[in-house]
Symmetry: C2
Subunit: 119 residues, 2 copies
């Protein structure tokens, strides 16, 4: 039962689109990730996904709109909804989602990350 | 599918020990709460509980130790573990926990809050 300091954890990695696990509770994971550029369009059939901006800003694109997320804001993307994060500048994000969630959802591809590192 | 701005939500209430619901996903709730003073000793038999400090600092007391939590830090209290939050000054905290979680856990009492407001 140790506390987690978000800034200390963010200092431990610099690569993009590669989430780290920093907590687990009730079958859910708390992850940290850094984004820059465009991700792939994808959806999660069984998982809702929360994106909370820690530093910076990014656009969450949906097929019919875009939501701009700034520091101190979060968005819950419901299961089944296609989305694509796009960040002009680097952004640091905290994710809350079920243990089963795969970063690229139904899309797979070269950006898929499995066996995430716990830091 | 609307984003949530944490500071805007925190400005909507000023009472202590009365969590508000600001998000729901995967059977879990995201709540905001302001603390000051001492809460009651309690535990949750079935729920792990995450406390993330947004503003200020507080002590999470356990029967055998105390963990000081500052802004930008979180702690996961596992189910079954007795705990008591104590804040010398006001602190704003984000909670992430199952829908079933009651603030006072097994203790009940006058600080129990049911039918939480969604803001």
């Amino acid at each position: 039962m140790e506390k987690v300091n978000i800034n200390e954890k963010l200092a431990l990695f610099s690569d993009h689109w590669n989430p780290r696990i920093v907590g687990e509770l009730n079958g859910q994971l708390v992850k940290l990730v850094k984004f820059q550029g465009e991700f792939v369009w994808h959806k999660h059939e069984e998982e809702d996904e929360l994106f909370y901006v820690l530093k910076g800003a990014f656009d969450m694109q949906f097929r019919d709109k875009t939501v701009r997320l700034q520091e101190g804001e979060f968005l819950i993307v419901p299961r089944g909804v296609e989305h694509r994060p796009v960040a002009a500048e680097e952004v640091a994000v905290m994710l809350f989602e079920p243990v089963s969630t795969l970063n690229t959802g139904d899309a797979g591809g070269e950006r898929k990350r499995e066996e995430l590192e716990r830091i």
